[in-house]
């Protein structure tokens, strides 16, 4: 963590979405009289982390925890409500469309659904060349594009005859390879991968994960890897951040997190994951109930409504991430009062 300018640094990122709807739907009558309610989805509530060059950071959590919103906000598909997003030290949080164009040569995204993320009316060679053409302004540079496109396709395991085909002529795994080639085309330092393998069959999933690891080694890429699949995360990540209801509840190096999870939610998540192993040695925390609505966050700790250890302090005071050594940080009051950990 001594790299002076990490590839990506995110500080106190917040992303809130106002909910639309007609004025009449939002009229509320309460003790202060008639007013227009403005409901807000608190998708991301102050998330901070950094990714060094060549590192893979994974964000895990269940649906609705805000992990994909973090990815899309960093890619500036969304305009963040607050916070900093630094790409190689440059804060892009408030950049407009034109400002973002040069930044996009440093940061590209791979999407979950290989069926929806490729234009069905474009040939593969045009899909892969699109980001390059955006970046290259001189005619001399543009001459190189066809050759680079061929090289990129070869790099991801597709051959030259594939270049003239349309996306519907490919299987899911091959489409994901096209998406990866498109992301690689501008030689970015950072690739944001939002559930890149969860739509794929397990044998194809292994092919794509191996490809992503090979490309990391060859080009020194950094990945922000969003996934709900803990076995995939365990395989690919260097560091892991666990999110719940828009908060980062724990971050740690991969081995530390899987060997010694500290936050009750992380522990529950790890013990809930099914395994092909006959026996498991992880403690079993079974969570009751479901994730509360991001429209009205619980007071204090976001996890207290499902936490088996919660006590009155958890309702009053929101825990913040605390360093517990070995680069592990945990947002839980149990760190201060370990005697309450009864498991």
């Amino acid at each position: 963590m001594t790299d002076p300018t990490p590839m990506l640094e995110v500080r106190d990122l917040e992303m809130h979405f106002p909910i639309g709807g007609g004025v009449l739907d939002r009229l509320k009558l309460d003790s202060k009289g008639l007013r227009i309610d403005r409901p807000v989805v608190h998708a991301v509530n102050g998330v901070s982390f950094r990714i060094n060059r060549g590192q893979i950071m994974a964000l895990v959590g269940e649906s609705g925890c805000g992990k994909s919103t973090v990815a899309k906000t960093i890619a500036r598909i969304y305009q963040p409500t607050a916070g900093e997003i630094r790409i190689e030290g440059e804060d892009i949080a408030s950049y407009g469309f034109a400002d973002m164009l040069p930044v996009r040569s440093k940061m590209q995204m791979i999407f979950q659904d290989p069926y929806a993320s490729l234009n069905p009316r474009q040939r593969v060679r045009d899909i892969v060349a699109e980001p390059l053409l955006q970046q290259m302004k001189t005619a001399a540079d543009r001459k190189e594009v066809p050759a680079r496109t061929q090289a990129l396709l070869a790099k991801v395991g597709l051959n030259a005859e594939h270049a003239g085909r349309y996306p519907h002529q490919f299987s899911g795994g091959q489409r994901q390879r096209i998406g990866i080639a498109r992301a690689l085309s501008v030689m970015p330092g950072l690739i944001i991968a939002d559930e890149p393998v969860s739509a794929l069959d397990v044998s194809i999933q292994a092919q794509i994960l191996n490809l992503m690891m090979d490309l990391r080694d060859e080009f020194g890429l950094s990945y922000l890897f969003i996934s709900h699949d803990l076995s995939v995360v365990h395989h690919i990540a260097d560091t892991v951040g666990v999110m719940y209801l828009g908060f980062m509840v724990e971050t740690a190096p991969r081995d530390t997190l899987f060997a010694r999870p500290r936050h009750p939610y992380t522990r529950a998540l790890l013990s809930a994951a099914p395994s092909i192993k006959a026996r498991r040695d992880t403690e079993e925390i079974t969570l009751m109930g479901e994730v509360p609505s991001a429209l009205s966050l619980p007071s204090g700790c976001c996890f207290r409504t499902r936490c088996p250890f919660a006590w009155d302090r958890c309702a009053q005071e929101r825990p913040v991430l605390k360093d517990v050594g070995d680069n592990q940080s945990v947002a839980c009051h149990l760190i201060d009062e370990p005697e309450r950990d009864r498991s």
Partner: protein, 330 residues
């Protein structure tokens, strides 16, 4: 295939084909298996393997252009493949019920949960309205839905995904069926909810003495739930055996490949073993063994002759000319 007194469902040489303009899709092409009373069988494979079509075939839910072209589906000796629609209607929901993957689309959004539950009992039991209501409330409570009496009046959209899947399971269990076919029941759910639902299904099956076919692509889920596993590839059974045997000493290279593709925490940073290539087009399968183009053990014989399902070690069967022995590396 041995059929004993304990056998609830025996499927013999089931063939379900879809006749399309671009050729005949042999989605299920000679599948046989048997399930004993109180047993859980996992039906595993990748997309296109035919596992869902097996489930739909058992319930007679194959629509045109699909047709069951051959084979027997014996439920306690009665052949469902020959049964008429009237008889199948009696069986669906009563003897055999189904839990679908997507709880968002398998409930009717226009009817309350109570109406949808009541329908099952109205069709399949002689209970009067009051007794049906009591049974529905008890069932909802047993799947972990609190304030069940109030929730009967709620519509599906008022429930979360996990709660909806509980409702679907409650409906499936209501008439005390002898067999439940669960088609990817937890694939759409988060992992903590998945573990709740799997526990619930295990308990319900044990309490009611029902059997289950668990259709899934997730070997981890199936290894925690099933007594034995049947692996499908391109519409055929490539391997079957007891769960622990099959996971620990797979005989078929495809099963081995599926298991090795799962990232193993004990062996991280090594490259994942991958199955090369992709599933072949099912309208245009290769000569001989369907898996040979992707198989590391394939030899000349595999291109000439299709392997038959043969006993390997003990209760394990595999369709392979060169099966793996325990201790072989892939």
């Amino acid at each position: 295939m041995t059929t004993t007194d304990n056998t609830l469902l025996a499927v013999h040489d089931l063939r379900t084909y879809f006749h399309t303009f671009s050729g005949t899709v042999k989605a299920v092409n000679g599948v046989s298996f048997a399930i004993g009373k109180g047993e859980v069988m996992g039906l595993v494979g990748e997309s296109g393997g035919g596992k869902s079509v097996v489930g739909f075939s058992i319930l007679g839910l194959i629509d045109s252009p699909g047709r069951i072209m051959g084979g027997k589906i014996l439920l306690d000796g009665e052949d469902l493949a020959q049964a008429g629609e009237d008889r199948l209607r009696q069986i669906r929901g009563r003897e055999i019920s189904m839990v679908f993957q997507d709880p968002m689309t398998s409930l009717n959004p226009l009817h309350t949960v109570g109406q949808q539950m009541d329908e099952v009992l109205r069709l399949h039991t002689d209970l009067d309205a009051a007794a049906r209501r009591t049974a529905c409330i008890e069932m909802l409570e047993s799947v972990g839905i609190s304030r069940a009496a109030d929730r009967l009046g709620a519509y599906p959209h008022q429930f979360s995904g996990g709660m909806r899947q509980r409702v679907v399971i409650a409906i499936a269990m209501l008439a005390r069926p002898r067999l439940i076919i669960a088609d990817e029941p937890t694939t759409a759910l988060d992992v903590t909810i998945q573990s709740q639902i799997l526990k619930l299904m295990r308990r319900q099956i044990a309490d009611k003495g029902a059997s289950m076919i668990l259709i899934t692509h997730d070997l981890a889920v199936v290894s925690e739930m099933a007594d034995h596993i049947t692996v499908l590839y391109c519409g055929k059974v490539v391997e079957r055996g007891r769960t622990r045997d099959l996971i620990e000493t797979p005989s078929h290279p495809y099963t081995r490949g599926l298991i090795d593709s799962i990232p193993d925490p004990a062996n991280r940073h090594a490259r994942l073993k991958q199955i090369p290539g992709t599933v072949p087009d099912i309208r245009n399968l290769p000569q001989g063994c369907n898996f040979r183009d992707r198989c590391p053990r394939a030899q000349a014989l595999c291109a000439e002759q299709e392997p038959e399902l043969r006993p390997q070690n003990g209760a394990q069967w595999a369709a392979c000319h060169y099966p793996l022995q325990p201790g072989d590396s892939a």
